[in-house]
């Protein structure tokens, strides 16, 4: 008898679906280490030591390893990618899906590990209009053609302007991601010339999107290894 197919984890299904949409828009996948250093996770992203934003993300520091930590977001992948990229040759257009860690109390909506997808586009004359174009197209394909997005002012040290993006799901607006134009300090940190290029970045929680999509009642269910989760 033929072996029946196994099943993928719902987070993999959602991640693959996101990759499918973004690769259709011209974005390539980049990856990076889960154990990071302070430079890539914080300093290069315009979050120097003592900056209040460091406290916004409860960090797992590695004991006895100076400056080593579990990455608190997938943003260090964009730094690593840009550091090794010749921007004069072609634009940066990447997405970085991956696991991230926060040292915080867990409950139905908080887990100490979860997945994020970072997006980054850097090139000549990249604007907020492009950010809106990419995100709107992504959500039209991910949620449905009738969806819409709206941007609100916010603050993240690695972008300026910093934005919060709400997505229309059914008749409700849901806060789904943070975004903005790449802060020129970050561009300089990776050796790009802010006079010549600009870019946008965004980051969204894959676990949260999966929860919104499927209605999983507790984010901790994703990491119990229970196959009853694999319903799709």
């Amino acid at each position: 008898m033929e072996t029946p197919q196994g099943t993928l984890h719902p987070l993999t299904l959602v991640m693959n679906d996101m990759v499918r949409i973004f690769e259709g828009l011209g974005f390539s996948v980049a990856t990076g280490p889960e154990m990071e250093d302070e430079w890539h996770n914080f300093d290069a992203l315009n979050v120097p030591a003592g900056h209040p934003a460091r406290d916004m993300q409860d960090t797992f520091w590695i004991r006895g390893e100076q400056g080593k930590l579990l990455r608190t977001h997938t943003s260090p992948v964009q730094i690593r990618y840009m550091e090794n990229h010749d921007i004069t040759q072609r634009p940066v257009a990447i997405i970085c899906p991956g696991k991230v860690f926060r040292n915080e109390a867990t409950d139905a909506t908080h887990e100490m590990q979860f997945h994020q997808m970072e997006g980054l586009l850097v090139g000549e004359n990249i604007s907020i209009a492009h950010l809106k174009g990419v995100l709107l197209e992504f959500f039209k394909q991910f949620v449905g053609p009738d969806t819409d997005i709206r941007l609100r002012p916010s603050f993240f040290p690695f972008v300026e302007p910093g934005l919060e993006v709400d997505v229309k799901m059914g008749d409700k607006w849901v806060e789904v991601l943070g975004a903005g134009l790449v802060n020129p300090v970050v561009l300089k940190n990776v050796g790009f010339d802010p006079q010549k290029v600009s870019g946008f970045a965004f980051g969204m929680g894959i676990d949260r999107l999966a929860t919104l999509k499927f209605g999983v009642p507790d984010v901790r269910l994703y990491y119990q290894g229970d196959v009853r989760l694999n319903q799709f």
Binding site: P4, Q5, G6, T7, L8, H9, P10, D17, V19, R20, E23, L25, G26, S28, V29, A30, T31, P33, E34, M35, P52, A53, F60, I62, G64, P97, F101, N103, M112, Q113, G123, S127, I128, A129, H130, K132, G133, V134, L136, E137, R150, L151, R152, P153, S154, F155, E160, L181, P184, F214, G215, P217, Y223, Q224, G225, D226, V227, R228, N230, F232
Partner: protein
């Protein structure tokens, strides 16, 4: 930060707009308003999350009133003024700000906004010179100007533009290898799981981590074995009634971080470093198949499982050649009540003397209690009697 509606009013000549209007405008043009509490007598307390870069100028009633006055074109009781000559000058081009925002910013836009905030400025052709007011030392470069103008005009005024990027993408090989390996393992019937990276022992420990779970895992199998035991118990409830699992994930050794793949089934367990296939082309059209889309595009909703034990019953029935086993399945489903879990599973089938024997396993479970034979037996009796009334022989 808490702000009081009547106290804000004290700083503004004209009557403030209604609190809902005020809230909406602040949210889309300045700060998140986390809550509004009705204090009675036309007064309200607004909880406003002042952004870190505005912590200086919007830290008190007067500061917030300045923001509100500018957004609503109202007049401050005590208007701002400052010594422009003693201020830092920021020169920027309208064209550059327009490029960053992706919409045209005119001198009219600049004049209206800067006048609303009582800024001292001059415009010459494309160049704007702003004397940065002492309370806005956070405005340093042109990106800060883009931030100010963008939020003042509102981001709904920016028309989305899809950038035209190269159609061929270039994924890194690690990601491609993960996708490929997952496809290979599910084709062999394994179910994917994800377990915790933090565990009770390992080579690296995190500071101030959760007690008993503050080491980084050095392998996948330790966590997976616990998961496998649970899945084995629930095997009848799982897809294909199979507890075969795999995981792909990072482990952390003194020699460095490694990407592993591991799997467990009834006969075997195995863990190895995931081979990154260097022969994969980095330029690909698509790495994710349309099949993934089909599964997630449906209106699928997650169904939480019951924490109570389940019960199984097997039934084997001889069906004449002319009868499809689907008829038997529909009889089981029709009589199964809400206690029936999933599809009846065909586990044996053979044909003899023009008849076929079909054996199904049926799973019963309740959401709020442990089932007893007294509840399940009558359901089986109903199924048996309907089979008999069709003259089908129960084995």
């Amino acid at each position: 930060m808490k702000f009081n509606y009547k106290k804000l009013q004290n700083h503004i000549v004209e009557p403030l707009p209604a609190v809902d209007v005020l809230k909406e405008k602040i949210i889309f043009h300045a700060f998140e308003v986390e809550s509004v509490e009705d204090l009675g007598n036309g007064d309200y307390e607004l909880e406003i999350k002042v952004l870190p870069d505005r912590a200086f100028d919007a830290k008190d009633d007067r500061g917030m009133a300045r923001e509100i006055a500018a957004l609503f074109d109202l007049t401050l009781v005590d208007p701002d003024s400052y010594d422009a000559a003693a201020s830092t000058e920021l020169v920027f081009s309208l064209n550059q700000v327009s490029t960053l925002l992706g919409r045209v910013i005119t001198t009219i836009n600049i004049e209206k906004m800067f006048n609303a905030y009582h800024y001292v400025f001059s415009i010459s052709g494309d160049q704007v010179s702003l004397a940065i007011p002492p309370w806005r030392s956070d405005i340093v470069h042109i990106y800060d100007i883009a931030d100010e103008i963008g939020r003042y005009l509102g981001y709904e005024s920016v028309t989305p533009v899809l950038p035209q990027l190269s159609a061929s993408v270039s994924h890194d090989k690690e990601f491609q290898s993960i996708v490929t390996k997952k496809q290979e393992l599910i084709s062999k019937g394994y179910h994917e799981v994800m377990t915790y990276s933090l565990t009770k022992k390992g080579d690296y420990q995190v500071a101030k981590g959760p007690k008993g779970k503050d080491f980084l895992r050095t392998n996948l199998l330790d966590g997976m074995r616990i998961a496998y035991a649970v899945n084995k118990q629930n095997e009848e409830l799982l897809p294909n009634a199979s507890a075969k699992i795999f995981e792909i994930g990072k482990v952390f050794l003194t020699t460095g971080e490694e990407l592993h793949v591991a799997w467990i089934d009834a006969k075997d367990e195995h863990e190895e470093v995931l081979t990154i296939d260097e022969t994969l082309s980095t330029i690909v059209e698509r790495v994710v198949t349309e099949g993934d889309r089909v599964r997630t595009s449906t209106e699928s909703r997650f169904h939480m499982w019951s924490e109570y034990p389940f019960m199984t019953r097997d039934i084997a029935v001889w069906l004449p050649e002319s009868v499809s086993n689907n008829e038997l399945v529909s009889i089981i489903k029709k009589n199964g009540t809400e206690l029936l879990q999933g599809e009846p599973r065909l586990f044996d089938q053979f044909t003899k003397d023009g008849r076929t024997s079909y054996a199904y396993r049926i799973v019963f479970q309740a959401f709020d209690r442990t089932l007893t034979d007294n509840e399940v037996n009558p359901i089986m009796d109903m199924i048996y009697s309907e089979c008999k009334s069709n003259s089908w022989e129960i084995r």
